[in-house]
Structure formats: C-alpha cells, structure tokens
Subunit: 200 residues, 2 copies
Amino acid sequence: MTFLSLFFIFSRKFEYSIKNGYNLSKDTFTNSRSKRGLCMNNDTKIKEVMGKAIAEAKKTMNDNVGGPFGAAIIDKEGKIVSVSSNSVLRDHDPTAHAEINAIRAAGEKLGTHDLSGCTLVTTAYPCPMCLGAIIWSNINHVIYGCRPKDAEAIGFRDDFIYRFIKDDHPDKKILAIDEAFREQCLILFKEYQEKEKTLY
Amino acid sequence: MTFLSLFFIFSRKFEYSIKNGYNLSKDTFTNSRSKRGLCMNNDTKIKEVMGKAIAEAKKTMNDNVGGPFGAAIIDKEGKIVSVSSNSVLRDHDPTAHAEINAIRAAGEKLGTHDLSGCTLVTTAYPCPMCLGAIIWSNINHVIYGCRPKDAEAIGFRDDFIYRFIKDDHPDKKILAIDEAFREQCLILFKEYQEKEKTLY
C-alpha cells in the first residue's frame, strides 16, 4: 500500500470522526497530529493538558467565577503556555470564556498576537466567538471535550449562536443589525489602506 | 391605513434593507428603532456616536495600535457607556477588536456582564467573534458602517471566517478540530448542573 493510499484512508477516517463527533481512536489521533506536524506524541500528553483545563474550570466554577469551562494552549514543543477558565461572572465580562482568556494570556506571555503553531485544548467545543478568536490568533488545531449540544443541555447558548449565524440572523429580536454611515467609515478604511502599517 | 399595515410595510422595507446591505433611509431607521424601543431619537445621535468611534479608530490606527476599527456602546437612555478601538498589535491580543474592547469596557463600567438594552455602534460589520460576543452580552441592536467585504478588501478575514463557519469548517489546514476525553468533561458539566449557581 502506498503512502498516498494510507494518507487517504486516514484522512477519510479522520474526517468521518470529526463530522460525526465521535471520539477519535488513538491511531487516528496520532495520524491526524503527525499530518499537521504537531507536537504531542501521545494521548497521555493530551490527557494531562485536558486534566489541567478541567481542574482550572472546576476551581473557578466552584468559586462562582464563571461557567464549567477550561482551556489550555500548548506551543509547538508541547510546552503549556497558558491554562485558563471562564471568568464571565467575576470579571463582569461576557467575552471572558476559557478559550478567550487562554488566548489573551498566551498572547501576553509570548508577546505576540500570532499564536501560529499552537494547539488549544478545551473542555468544550468553542462557541462562535471563541472559534473566531482561535482563527484570528492563527491557532490551527483545537482539541475539545464536550459538544455544543452538551453545553446547551446545561443552559448555554453555544449551539444557538451557531444556528443564528448559519441561518443568517433569522431572529431580529435577538439581534437587529442596521447599516449606517458606510461612506464615512470607508474613508477610514481608505486611509488605512494608504498608510504604512503592520498587517495582521 | 391601519397601524398594523404601516408596521408590516416598514418591517418588510427594513428586512429588505438589511438583507441587501443597503443604506437605510432616515424613516426606516426611525421606525426600526422605535419598534425595538431603542433610545436614539434621530440620525444626528447615531452620527455623533459613529463619529466618536471613527475618531478613536483613526487615532489608534495611526499609532499602530491596531486596525481601522472603532466601536461605541450606548445604554437605554442613549448615554455613551464606552468608546473603544482595535488594539490587537499594542496588546498582543488577537481578541482585542473594537467591539470586544467596547463590551469589556462597558461591562467593567456598569459592573455586569449583562448589557441588555444597550446598542453597539461600530465602524464595520462585526466579525463572527464579535457577533458572538454581542449575543453573549445580550446587546440586541448593532449599527455598523462598512460591510464584511469592505474589510476583506483591505486585508481582513471577517468574511472568510463567516464562510468558514457557514460551510462547516471545510479547510482543515486553517483549523482542525478533534474531540477527546468527552466523558471526563461531561463529569464537569454534571457537577455544574447539580450545584447552586448564578446562571448567565
């Protein structure tokens, strides 16, 4: 069997696992990771990192700091850069999800907004806000525990927000979005386009 | 013509304007706002708030603090709660978009994660990260200037991330998402479900 055939089989298996939300076998994991050249060599490492995320979430959840969500970021070498949890209630900050907190902490620690090559391990599938943050940060691998419907079952709106985006904002009572003064804002964009700047 | 017919006509006109990304006329604006019981009585107020968002964006953009994006949050009475701009570069924080910064500042100022009744005015259509943050914060009205394709035209990935979410993560090179240790994370969720807590 050629390398290409093997690659194809694993790709299909991997895609199927993701699409159907199944737990991935150790083999599939190892293969999918090595395909992306990531750092973690075995499930023990992922288990250790997920354990830290769970422990952090448990601690802050029991102190009423926020919901039951934890996240950790690992760099290319497998070194833990940040471990955070949800702190929405304590910080009066609706954006303070575990993933956002972990990204902000990692950015601060590494001194860059660019977390290319890092992996984010999180106790639950990221909500659209966190998924957006992950892509903006250039993290290209996420390992999650619970599914959006699991979060919905304990009262969180992750899945609802995904449906809201996919269905093109069907409910104007939830959020009405109006356009105004586009011309004035385009002047700002034009000024940006013409200036010397750091693109990101 | 009955009030109901008028309401219907304006609703249709308003929906059409949003769907097609057109600039809304003053009449439509006033009507859509009054329908939602929002605070701003005329376009002059919106223009003033958008002006502040643009000015803030211009200042930080020229200092290389971040991209050309500004946002302001207004409370039920039309009082400005926060004015912020993008500070991704300065803060080494990929989540520091204008809208996220404005929400965080408003939460801190008002001492709550719940910004119900507030309106967010922003120089550009919120990216999925910011849209998620807006829904989590319970803000139910957004007024934006530039469109996602305008942001794309000057090098930003807002529109790309929308397509990525809507197409169910087609490109695994951008972001691969694996599930692992769901059972362990579900234990955390169960513990949360059973404890006394502040739901949000």
